[in-house]
């Protein structure tokens, strides 16, 4: 794990100095994205997202439960991510570690803070019964940028979710009430190069990471910096621009996929 990346680091840095990336992309170019929805019959909503070779499945399950005491008229949202050993030789079986918990929490925050789900419409009896939404993210194939892939899979799954009211005998099924979603785009920096949508090779040597979520107006809705390296102000501007530009295309792909 330490020897190969240092050789690779030299190679990637050399390429970057010539303005190139290991897979031939431009610095501000995203990998190809594909989204399939409603792939799991047992789930209330589901989606498979592929970003290049990275593959993530998100499934939504719903149940009826008690609301939190401080929000008695709001639905409850729970997000978990499983980095199953299927996806990478470096993932191990066992309870979720730091990486899985960070991933789930970043996705959760994106969904919660952007108020994509209208949780106030998921109250059944205030203080007693509300809908509980479980977002479960299953990483299937890991080739970098799990943040964007997981967020996108979660959004696509939510937009195809049907509230199973009939199964719980409290009325007819209806689509989950949702608002316009912000789209997350992640960039990383290594050796002064800033690249969007890092592949695993690039992620392995990254010094700093920045995720920017933008809405359909091109406004910024959430940001998260990760790793120990730093950005300059100019680099931050570049990252935001790449996030807005790529966000438009990703939003188009998402909307196409959920309209089907």
């Amino acid at each position: 794990m330490t020897i190969i990346p240092s050789i690779k680091r030299d190679y990637l840095c050399k390429l970057a100095e010539q303005g190139k990336r290991i897979d031939g992309r431009r610095f501000d170019e995203y990998r190809s994205i594909s989204i399939e929805t409603n792939i799991i019959s047992k789930a209330e909503g589901s989606a498979r997202v592929k970003i290049g070779n990275t593959q993530v499945i998100a499934g939504i399950k719903m149940d009826i439960g008690e609301p939190y005491p401080d929000s008695p008229d709001q639905g409850v949202l729970t997000t978990s991510a499983e980095l199953v050993p299927l996806a990478s030789p470096d993932f191990e079986a066992g309870p979720p570690g730091g990486e899985a918990i960070e991933l789930a929490r970043v996705v959760d925050r994106g969904v919660r803070e952007s108020e994509v789900i209208e949780l106030d419409k998921l109250c059944i009896t205030p203080g007693e019964e509300v809908w509980v939404i479980f977002i479960d993210i299953h990483i299937i194939d890991h080739d970098g940028n799990l943040f964007d892939a997981s967020s996108l899979a979660t959004l696509a799954a939510l937009f195809t979710t049907t509230v199973p009211a009939k199964r719980f005998e409290i009325g007819e099924d209806y689509p989950l009430p949702l608002k316009e979603p912000p789209v997350s785009v992640t960039s990383v920096k290594f050796n002064k190069a800033v690249v969007v949508d890092p592949s695993l090779d690039e992620e392995d040597i990254a010094e700093a990471r920045l995720t920017v979520a933008t809405d359909s107006n091109g406004d910024i809705r959430a940001m998260q910096k990760g790793l120990s390296g730093s950005f300059t102000r100019e680099e931050i501007r570049k990252v935001i621009k790449a996030s807005i530009d790529n966000g438009i295309e990703i939003r188009r792909i998402l909307m196409n996929a959920i309209r089907k």
């Binding site: 047992k42 593959q55 399950k61 149940d63 978990s80 299927l86 030789p89 479960d136 194939d141």
Partner: protein, 243 residues
């Protein structure tokens, strides 16, 4: 009889229209993952399963190493969203047991003595579950192992038979599993005709067992052909590319 739910109609058709000796539709695809050494995607009726193989690689923790052969670790895991009521993520007693019997079945066919001190990890993820996941999982694992180029006596394959409304039938569906009288999952190595996995729950007479086993065995042979076809399809297209 556990109950009187009608699972076969007067014309001998089952709830989903199958005859007693008919399998659910099966689709197998080899080599679907980028990262894994070998992989397989399998749909069997409403079951959707991905299997991935990593290894042989150095066995860790070190004390698990066997100086004479590879250890085979299969891990059967159900996605939280794969069942009607959300399953808590992580292993439960059921999946630990299934992982164990599948590991043992796979270990039997893999030429483990060729890879001392290593481990071979077989990860089986159930994405959508609808009765018969252990057979589907083992069948997918067999294809993934072959895709990973791991030497084996044969590609293992599994199929279940059972009894519903007193009639022996092949490959129980969801309702049949819930309301049926017996379930008999069987895994074999078709070439040597050895039995690798055998479980049974319910109630069968000796005669019924013979019939059910015969059906499951036939089912295995049929599915085995689908496994080989999936592998041939993947490698035939690669062969075409390079020639």
């Amino acid at each position: 009889m556990k109950n009187d739910k009608k699972l076969i109609n007067e014309e001998g058709r089952r709830l989903d229209g199958r005859r007693f000796d008919e399998l659910r539709p099966i689709r197998i695809e080899a080599g679907v993952l980028h990262r894994a050494d070998g992989s397989c995607y399998l749909e069997w009726g409403g079951n959707k399963i991905i299997a991935a193989v990593y290894g042989p690689r150095e066995a860790i923790p070190k004390h698990t190493q066997n100086p004479l052969k590879a250890i085979v670790n299969a891990r059967y895991n159900m996605a939280a969203f794969s069942v009607e009521d959300r399953k808590r993520p992580g292993p439960d007693r059921r999946s630990v047991e299934i992982s164990k019997v599948i590991s043992e079945a796979l270990e039997n066919v893999i030429l483990t003595e060729q890879f001392p001190r290593t481990m071979i990890n077989v990860n089986i993820e159930v994405l959508d579950a609808e009765a018969g996941t252990r057979c589907a999982g083992l069948t997918a694992a067999g294809v993934a192992l072959a895709d990973a180029g791991i030497p084996m006596v044969d590609i293992p394959v599994a199929c279940a038979a059972g009894k519903i409304n007193g009639q022996v039938v092949l490959d129980l569906g969801k309702e049949e599993d819930n309301y049926g009288d017996a379930d008999l999952p069987v895994a074999i190595a078709p070439r040597t005709d050895e039995i690798l996995l055998l479980q049974m729950d319910g109630h069968l007479t000796l005669d019924e067992f013979e019939q059910a086993f015969e059906l499951a065995h036939k089912g295995c042979l049929y599915v085995s052909e689908l496994q080989k076809k999936a592998l041939l399809e993947k490698y035939a297209s690669i062969a075409e590319e390079v020639s």
